[in-house]
Amino acid sequence: MPDAMPNSSQAMTAVAVQSPFEPRIVAFFCNWCTYLAADLAGTSRLKYAANVRVVRVMCSGRVDPQFVLDAFAHGADGVLIGGCHPGDCHYQEGNYKALRRYRLLKRLLGQMGIEEERLRLEWISASEAERFRWVMNDMVEHVRVLGPLHFEPAKEVFAEEVAV
């Protein structure tokens, strides 16, 4: 797969209507593992798709489901959460809390009419730069196939349900 997305900037500015769809992905990374894997990917000069924007948190357990919903509500096509491998949490068990919330959140997204695959949780340790690159590219490709997030139909469904 190509290392960099052609035309991604046009899509990012959302002005060029004809340009191919470039997913916008917001990522919440744990400071101790996935964020460091991203740094290591940088120092190793690994190239990956430029679609992901990172928000650093101290622990994947800090990721409030509202952050994810907020990202979707403001135009993210996908949300990625990166935490420490099971048993490796810097704060002992925050990643397990993240996992629990993630499972519930997936169901909630489905009920809202958002494809569950748009949300992804990955365990990436500080040394897994290569895996980090793979996840980034894979996430972008998956969301690219899903296409832009269309929230409008869901809104209509909700409106109908409320009306009944």
Binding site: A4, T13, L46, A50, R62, A71, H90, G94
Partner: protein, 664 residues
């Protein structure tokens, strides 16, 4: 200077974009980025500079704060892991609270990982926009001061642990040195000579071991392991498990009469210290200069433990000293320390994992460490290099890179094998006058006097063949000999060299339980499994867990001088914390907004540190700031949004997320 009135709406943000030489500027259009940043709401000034972290770069920011009355600072440069502290200090020196600052990671997260300049620049714009929106909400925070317990824990009693312990103890600090074997000394105690100077390892190591034992500031616990680590920098509470030695350390005088008196008249148990080439008794001392000079009973082979019907001649001869105690039990002890140095060492590669080298199949294939014991005067053969059948080898082949630089086993270079192979070639030649062949991929001799040593060994007549050994099998033409097959890549021919003895220069690997240890101490490992340092260049002995330092081969393969240097560095890092007496920590802890808290107790069981409790009279949750480590799990779980985390407030993260997505 007094801080200006400072609210999110009136915030005056300064954005500083760093070129990082060409590291950022080559892939991100820093001028376009600066122009863009200047247009963002709340931004008073946007500048770019070649090196923001340099003194003029820092001055630029400080001047901006003073002259333009900036109230917030955003620096878009490298990873916050590298320079967040630097720029927080700059912000403080400029006269602002250090937390009125946010860092954007342009280098590791954009310029180094993307090739399309336009895409990288757009990403950078999004990141800066998010940072500007977020930083406006930042609040002034005060760093938490944590006191440092002056006691130090050192895990591992090899040369790294020994050197670090002595350095700290000599500085007047109290050290707990924990070793899981019956003696300290580690791998170095097994070596005969050390490269390249050929000093006798025992002569330089054993005096240090003795000093450890006699030092008033060192508490040495052998046969002990760490089972649990609680707390945080300055205040660790460590649970130590003492395994039974079945000999009372205080009562034993090290006379070793019990060993002679053992009902086993002959030593029958394979001796681990001698790489199982020699034998010992069930009651033994690992090696003559072991520290502590106390015997140990091996439960597996002792008749008393196996049958309960031994005559116990050892107890008899010990007499009034009453040092032998078959009833000794495992003991748990809890200690408080402020800093920890891990010096847990390495594991030698198991040569059986490469079956075509025949280790374990052909008796005359040895590992480097086994030959190390053979050449050692205190070893199983008294320093004679002889084969298992007693013959002296006439030809010896030394195979480099066994379990190193190999896609099938370990990809890393073990750094010491070339040099110890040269040393063994020299020692074998000296002791047997055998013809020695060294099979190498590349000769790596990067150290003081190393290349000279290589030349010396070459001049002595050792034959060097550049090629990775492909196969080792019995020589059909000559009984008892082995054929080493390798492509000589300098001559472009396949060589088949018959030898009497093969030495496999096995590489260095992480300890088999490195992963468990890592978890116990909340560390990370690099991809080969060695403990990960905080920064490969600027913090090579620190870890991501404050107050825990690394020394020696647990961080990666290294030779003795490097290990000792690192141990000294780790001791100095610990000393720096102890001597100042406190450490300042980021204040990213959580608090409860009492007026909003409904007292539902959702958060209480979620906290891994038991930092949250319920104020019974008010029915409100309360967070103990000292115990809180700032993970934010409770914040994310609070149904009423009544817990906030400094630096990671909900509103700050919402602003950041929305800023990322608020493209034009």
């Amino acid at each position: 200077m007094a801080e200006p009135t400072n609210t999110a709406s009136s915030a005056r943000v300064g954005v500083y974009v760093c070129h990082c030489g060409t590291n950022i500027a080559d892939t991100v259009d820093v001028n376009a980025l600066t122009d863009y940043a200047a247009t963002l709401p709340g931004v008073t000034v946007a500048r770019n500079y070649k090196y923001a972290c340099s003194t003029p770069g820092q001055e630029l920011i400080k001047r901006g704060i003073r002259e333009l009355n900036l109230t917030r600072v955003v620096v878009a440069a490298c990873s916050p892991c590298l320079h967040e502290k630097t720029f927080r200090n700059v912000t403080a020196e400029g006269g602002l609270n250090p937390y009125y600052f946010h860092m954007v990671n342009l280098r590791e997260h954009a310029s180094w990982v993307h090739t399309d300049k336009q895409a990288a620049t757009e990403k950078a714009k999004d990141l800066i926009r998010a940072a500007v929106r977020r930083v406006r909400l930042h609040r002034p925070l005060v760093r938490k001061r944590v006191s440092i317990d002056p006691n130090v824990l050192i895990v591992g009693g090899g040369i790294a642990g020994i050197h670090a312990a002595l350095t700290l103890a000599n500085a007047g600090k109290h050290v707990y040195l924990i070793e899981r074997d019956a003696t300290i000394g580690g791998h170095m105690a097994m070596f005969d000579k050390t490269f390249p100077t050929l000093d006798c390892a025992a002569c330089i190591l054993t005096p240090k071991m003795t000093s450890v034992k006699s030092h008033p500031n060192i508490t040495l616990w052998t046969l002990s392991e760490i089972t649990q680590v609680d707390g945080y920098v300055g205040n660790y509470r460590v649970t130590v498990k003492h395994k039974p030695r079945y000999v009372l350390e205080d009562a034993c005088v090290g006379c070793m009469e019990c060993i002679d008196a053992c009902v086993y008249k002959q030593a029958k148990v394979p001796d681990g210290f001698n790489m199982y080439l020699g034998k010992r008794k069930p009651i033994y001392i690992p090696f003559p200069q072991a520290v502590p000079q106390v015997v140990v009973i091996d439960r597996e082979s002792c008749i008393e433990f196996k049958s309960g019907k031994c005559k116990k001649t050892c107890v008899e001869v010990c007499g009034d000293r009453k040092a032998i105690d078959f009833q000794q039990q495992e003991k748990i002890e809890i200690i408080d320390v402020g800093t920890i140095i891990l010096a847990t060492g390495f594991f030698t590669f198991d040569a059986k994992r490469i079956p075509y080298y025949g280790y374990g199949t052909y008796p005359n294939v040895y590992t480097g460490l086994e030959v190390e014991r053979l050449v050692n005067a205190a070893g199983p053969t008294g320093g004679e290099v002889v084969l298992r059948d007693g013959r002296k080898p006439k030809t010896v082949g030394i195979v480099h890179c066994v379990g190193s630089r190999d896609e099938n086993t370990n990809r890393h270079c073990s750094r010491v094998c070339c040099m110890y192979s040269l040393k063994l070639a020299h020692l074998i030649k000296e002791k047997t006058d055998a013809e020695v062949f060294n099979f190498y991929i590349d000769m790596r001799t990067p150290g003081k006097g190393f290349e000279e040593f290589y030349n010396r060994v070459a001049e002595e007549g050792t034959v060097f063949i550049r090629g990775r050994v492909a196969d080792i099998y019995p020589d059909p033409a000559s009984e008892g000999r082995l054929l080493i097959v390798a492509e000589d890549t300098l001559m472009s021919i396949v060589r088949r060299i018959p030898v009497d003895m093969v030495v496999l220069s096995t590489g260095l690997e992480p300890q088999p339980d490195a992963q468990e240890v890592r978890r116990r101490f909340h560390l990370s490992c690099s991809s080969e499994g060695f403990f990960l340092e905080r920064h490969p260049k600027l913090a090579p002995v620190s870890t991501f867990t404050d107050g825990i330092f690394l020394a020696g081969c647990c961080q990666g393969p290294k030779d003795i001088p490097d290990t000792v240097a690192q141990a000294g560095a780790a001791a100095a890092e610990a000393l720096a914390l102890i001597d100042i007496g406190y450490v300042e920590q980021d204040p990213c802890t959580a608090q409860v907004l009492e007026e909003v808290c409904s007292g539902c107790k959702t958060c209480i069981p979620l906290c891994p540190y038991q930092a949250i409790s319920l104020l019974e009279e008010k029915k409100k949750a309360q967070i103990n700031e000292v115990l809180c480590k700032g993970c934010g799990t409770c914040v994310a779980s609070c149904p009423s949004g009544s817990i906030t985390q400094n630096l990671f407030e909900d509103e700050e993260i919402f602003e950041e997320v929305e800023g990322l997505l608020a493209y034009a």
